[in-house]
């Protein structure tokens, strides 16, 4: 381990003391922050040359960001346990037999969730809840089942204190799925996030409409293009965290992101951007990710010692990594201005074509880069349109059109999404607030989902413009909780602070209502 200077040690100690004394952080949030600060003093990774300059500058110039993964990763960033195996076989480590009825099933899952690590220390995937619970639906009558599901969801909302936690339902309608969606609509909780895997050949209109109804009450579920994900990741994919497509029984070691706008700013001209700056930054980031993965796999001992791996709930060879990017819009607009052109991303054919060219180049880079521990995805990382973080300013998530510049007509907005969603098997998505005073017609949204998925859009989220639970970028927060935090009160979920940051820095309350 490399030495660090005393100034850095003392600065970190100051931050730790401030954390101890913080009036707004809850106990759990303090413990997590303290652990991250301790971790920040470790220096064990083999860092590529040039990373420091690209990663440590301010948000106005930095080109690579590792999203607070820490200096010595002690677990993969996202872990996707095989809950089906747990339900079938139980767990030796947790001293649990396979559940025999719905009471045991829910109890076992709630126990399991407390033992699934992640970058946030909360499980980013809580399972295909409809599939997991459906075998137990005949144990009790429907009213009882609904009550148990509501208690289950409420327990999650109050103990998984982070809305990057994600449940899946669909694509096929089930009784458990229906009750879950009804419960979500009634409870209006922020946690867990939910995705409905949707395939018009498998998902009934009735089930999809139930999902839309729930989404307009509680900003979830979102809708994932099942055919598209299946064609890239096979049947055993899940949607976790914000909207990340990953392998069941695997996960993602790491997620780092390119800040494309700042890479554009480093460039002398368009040629310099494409010939030198973009390839250089991509290479440094890929090398950095390789180094992180090497440490997790070869040195951290996670895959040798954690019960999830030892009992086969996860498999090292089902993990991959996510090569992320943000701010394509700002990057394109900057490069257009640099050429003296006025066309804007999302509105101008040439600007959008430039965006496509940038994405093609990033994709080609990724296809040429090989990591020995990403066998499950052909030895390559998966591209990811990252949704941004609370401290981002003037950086649009992934390939989204900046808030305030959305096309007047929704059809034009969707046509734009069509061009970019294909690049991102490990996740992208667009979000549309809906004016439900006008639209008492949920089939309107169903038609839009069907059309979108036929046209190659990957993932869509809707919420009612006047609902309390809203989708910030990929995760969910209650407006009423943001208001509490703004008044300086404690709030239960750590994502509320991220939502507040995004509200102030990224205008997420000002999205164009459809």
């Amino acid at each position: 381990m490399r030495e660090i200077d005393m100034k850095r040690v003392n600065d970190t100690r100051d931050q730790m003391l401030a954390t101890v004394k913080s009036p707004t952080l809850t106990h759990e949030q303090k413990v997590a922050t303290m652990a991250n600060l301790a971790d920040s003093m470790l220096e064990v990774l083999d860092l590529p040359e040039g990373l420091d300059e690209l990663m440590t500058d301010t948000i106005k110039t930095k080109c690579i960001c590792d999203l607070a993964e820490g200096h010595a990763p002690l677990r993969p960033r996202y872990i996707i346990p095989d809950y089906g195996k747990f339900m079938r076989e139980g767990s030796k480590f947790l001293q649990l037999e396979p559940p025999k009825d719905i009471y045991e099933a829910i109890n076992s899952l709630l126990i399991f969730y407390k033992h699934v690590p992640s970058v946030t220390n909360f499980p980013v995937y809580v399972g295909a809840l409809d599939e997991l619970l459906e075998p137990f639906m005949d144990d009790v009558d429907e009213a009882q089942a609904k009550k148990l599901i509501k208690l289950f969801l409420t327990h999650m909302d109050r103990t998984i204190l982070d809305s990057f936690s994600h449940a899946n339902v669909g694509p096929v309608a089930t009784k458990a799925g229906r009750l879950l969606l009804e419960a979500e609509a009634e409870l209006e909780h922020a946690v867990p996030n939910v995705t409905m895997k949707y395939d018009e050949d498998l998902t009934s209109d009735e089930f999809a409409l139930l999902g839309i109804k729930a989404a307009l009450k509680s900003a979830k579920p979102s809708f994932a293009n099942h055919k598209m994900f299946k064609s890239e990741l096979n049947e055993d994919y899940v949607i976790a965290s914000c909207y990340n497509g990953l392998k069941y029984g695997g996960g993602s070691y790491t997620l780092c992101r390119l800040i494309l706008g700042n890479i554009a700013k480093r460039s002398k001209d368009l040629d310099d951007f494409f010939e030198h700056q973009l390839p250089y930054v991509c290479q440094v980031m890929a090398d950095y990710m390789d180094s992180r993965i090497k440490f997790i796999v070869e040195e951290s001992g996670f895959f040798e010692n954690n019960f999830l791996a030892k009992e086969g709930f996860i498999h090292r060879d089902r993990f991959t990594a996510m090569f992320g990017m943000v701010g394509l819009a700002e990057c394109v607009n900057y490069l257009m201005e640099m050429q003296g052109k006025t066309g804007r991303y999302g509105h101008d054919e040439e600007a959008d074509a430039l965006g496509v060219k940038i994405m093609d180049q990033i994709e080609a880079f990724n296809q040429a880069h090989v990591n020995p521990y990403c066998e499950v995805t052909g030895g390559h990382f998966l591209l990811h349109a990252q949704v941004g973080i609370d401290s981002d300013m003037g950086i649009s998530p992934g390939t989204r059109i900046p808030i305030g510049e959305e096309p007047e007509e929704l059809i034009d907005h969707l046509r734009h999404c069509e061009k970019f969603h294909k690049y991102f098997p490990s996740g992208t998505g667009d979000i549309f607030p809906i004016d439900t005073t006008v639209h008492k017609n949920n089939e309107f949204l169903l038609d839009i989902i069907k059309g979108s998925f036929r046209e190659g859009i990957r993932y869509l989220s809707f919420y009612a413009a006047d609902s309390d639970v809203i989708r910030i970028t990929g995760y969910l927060v209650k407006r009423s909780e943001i208001e509490k935090l703004e008044r300086g009160e404690n709030v239960l979920q750590d994502t509320t602070a991220l939502g507040m940051g995004a509200k102030h820095n990224s205008r997420i309350m000002e999205r164009k209502v459809r």
């Binding site: 059809i411 639209h439 089939e443 949204l445």
Partner: protein
């Protein structure tokens, strides 16, 4: 044939089931007191007054006729406010093929189209041509009508029309005259005929208690429609009058309260209607 098109809304959630492109043609043969888009009623007289007032120069005169450049329009409605004849100059003359080209852009996001107005049945040949193109593309075809075209005399149009959303603005001829200045003899004939053919998708009544006998209208309309429910579902939409967009001289009517609307919806149900919606 080219018809005056007032506007095309690419995605509409309020003009029939699902997501539809809504086409609004210009011109109407009724004079409804509560019309909320009175600028769609008349055809331009080419007086040119709006051309001078347009802040974006989106209007110009060519061969003595007012023309519109939609790409310059900012939607400020100065032209409509200027017009003494109750007419929008923002009209484009388009034939069925040209309108269809603009509809096609929304495929496969839409399940169909709805043609409204103005009064779209002033242009039955255009409707037929457009609907033939839509049917070929597997798009649904609805039209929104005041019911003054004798549909029975246009079987070829009806063949390519999925259904009609028909306004029954008042039941008695006297009341209908008060509301629209026109008789409703043809409207009621159409209601029976369309319902008997399974082509009456929806009937609707705008509720303005001071203007006509709302209870009587809802009762009689519901009773008649209910006799045909075995031919296919008919929705009864009870629409709350709202003063938005209504001409100043008629904007004084009282907005009916929710309780009255609920009472009317219940009345429609008691007459045998099952699909009743208040909007």
């Amino acid at each position: 044939m080219k018809v005056p098109v007032n506007k095309i809304i690419p995605f509409s959630a309020v003009d029939g089931p699902g997501n539809r492109t809504a086409v609004f043609v210009q011109g109407c043969n009724f004079n409804c007191r509560y019309c909320h888009n009175p600028e769609t009623r008349n055809l331009c007289k080419n007086c040119g007054e709006c051309v001078e007032k347009c802040p974006k120069h989106a209007l110009y005169v060519e061969n003595g006729e007012v023309r519109f450049r939609p790409e310059l329009c900012c939607g400020c409605d100065t032209c409509i406010k200027t017009c003494r004849f109750g007419c929008s100059p923002r009209i484009q003359y388009l034939d069925a093929g040209e309108v269809f080209e603009r509809i096609k852009k929304q495929m496969p996001y839409i399940r169909g189209i709805t043609v409204s107005g103005g009064e779209c049945t002033l242009y039955p040949d255009f409707l037929r041509e457009l609907f033939v193109l839509c049917r070929e593309a597997h798009l649904g075809t609805l039209l929104d009508s005041n019911g003054t075209l004798d549909f029975e005399a246009y079987p070829e149009l009806l063949d390519v029309t999925d259904g009609v959303m028909l306004d029954v603005k008042a039941w008695t001829d006297e009341d209908h005259h008060t509301v629209t200045s026109v008789s409703n003899e043809m409207v009621l004939k159409n209601m029976r005929y369309l319902a008997s053919q399974g082509k009456l998708f929806e009937v609707r009544t705008v509720i303005v208690p001071e203007l006509f006998d709302c209870r009587g209208t809802v009762r009689e309309t519901a009773t008649l429609a209910a006799q045909y429910l075995d031919k296919g579902n008919i929705r009864y939409k009870i629409i709350k009058y709202r003063p938005m967009g209504v001409r100043e001289e008629y904007a004084h009517y009282r907005v009916p309260d929710q309780a009255f609307l609920e009472e009317l919806a219940e009345l429609a149900r008691s007459c045998g209607m099952t699909d009743v919606l208040i909007v």
